[in-house]
Amino acid sequence: MEQIAVQDKEIVVPGQELASGMSYLPGPGTYRDEGAIRAQRLGMVSIEGKVIRLIALSGKYLPKLKDKVIGKVIDVLLTGWRIEFNSPYSAVMTLKDATSDFIQRGADLTQYYALGDYVLCQIVNVTSQKLIDVSMKAPGLRKLRGGRIIEVSPQKVPRIIGKDGSMVGMIKQATKCDIAVGQNGLVWLSGEPQSEVIAAQAIQIIEQEAHLGGLTNRIANWLKEKTGVHVTAMPSAEHAPEGGAQ
């Protein structure tokens, strides 16, 4: 009667029955339908004890509190800036959140952030109606000058960062690029043009093979082949343990 109908790490489609009976608990991405637990989206099953949850494989970025994201200034407002960050909703950065400088009434705000500038910022407020505030007031947050922006699937971001930033650390080490990864799936790279290309390729490989094991070693070998730099995956202290962007 009470049993799991799927295996761990199996890909399931919306509506598919994952388990029957009341002894299992529906986790995120699943729902209870009378006696059964069903998938609520396309995803990969993850069974943890009595809880069945789904890992999303696709989808847009949904803004979450405290996430560090890379955004683009799309408008200058009366008292702040409007930031777009690859999500259905745009955010507002107020003067107070942007800088601790004293700014005269009526000053030209484009001196600080102009249209089209990219910033690494943190989400500090999300309302039920998805009105979002972002801030520059945390260590490591900055305007991103030069370099290039690439787009990846937001679901793959944890793999790109790696455990304690080990994966992105490896790419930095090998290519000597400056890299910032936003939780929203935007990645900023800055370095020598040749190394930027290699770093971008490495990130694309990670994105494509995100669900496969042994990825760190494969990327290390690939980087060695391309750059000649021998790298090891070491959780580096400079990367924040959580909160996303490096």
Binding site: V13, G15, Q40, L57, K60, P88, S90, Q129, H211
Partner: protein
């Protein structure tokens, strides 16, 4: 008159050969192709994203917007005039009604999920193919759904109940065409239309047979969605 044999030689309850593929349009957030016989539907999903014009925004939930389009060269020699028509407007509405019951867009207030369905080649059953493709594309886009949606046309040609009508049967003078959309796991019906005349007994028979047929379509959908991620691991 009796309809002894189908025009294309199929069994009366046999569907046309089906193929499905997910992830066919790379720039889209989700996409799928569904083909049954000579009818082909491509669906692309964009969003959830910012909705304009602003008066269409709904602060309590995201909305679903469908754009069904038959390509000019897709019909039977007669050029289909590009752009919206009375017919496409109706199909947009019934598709929205067929798909919305499984979607959860509550997390996306004021936003829109856009579904574009293009039909490069048609041989009847387009709204069913469009719904089937759109359901796969929505799942591929990672949108929360309670279930998939499968659709097939049932109908009558002279004295027989038939499934998945082609254009010859659909346009037959003595018959009826009944597109049905089913939620495969709960068996609920989200689309039921009819063009033509049918007796109550035959209608019941047609809907029952359509429900059974939808199970086959569901398997095709399921396989295509799983294959999307299986090929990546290869």
């Amino acid at each position: 008159m009796t309809y002894a044999k189908r025009f294309d030689g199929r069994g009366f309850e046999e569907l046309r050969p089906m193929t499905a593929k997910v992830g066919v349009i790379h720039r889209a957030d989700g996409s799928a192709m569904f083909q049954t016989g000579k009818t082909i539907a491509y669906a692309a999903v964009y969003g959830p994203r910012d909705l304009h014009p602003k008066f269409m925004q709904n602060p309590s939930t995201g909305i679903l917007r469908i754009n069904y389009n038959m390509m000019p060269f897709s019909g039977h020699g007669e050029r289909v005039r590009p752009g919206g028509s009375r017919r496409s407007k109706e199909i947009n509405m019934v598709m929205q009604n067929a798909l919305l019951p499984v979607l959860n867009l509550k997390d996306y207030p004021n936003a829109v999920v856009d579904v574009f369905v293009e039909l490069p080649q048609t041989d009847a059953g387009t709204r069913c193919a469009a719904i089937t493709a759109a359901a796969m594309a929505l799942a591929d886009a990672g949108i929360e759904m309670k279930d998939l949606v499968c659709a097939v046309a049932a109908g009558r040609v002279e004295d027989k109940v038939v499934l998945d009508l082609n254009y010859l049967e659909d346009s037959h003078e003595d018959g009826a065409d009944i597109p049905v959309a089913i939620l495969p796991n709960s068996g609920k019906v989200t689309l039921l239309q009819m063009d033509g005349e049918i007796s109550p007994e035959m209608l019941k028979e047609a809907v029952t047979k359509a429900k059974t047929a939808c199970k086959k379509i569901y398997e095709v959908q399921k396989e295509a969605l799983k294959a999307r991620f299986a090929t990546r691991s290869a």
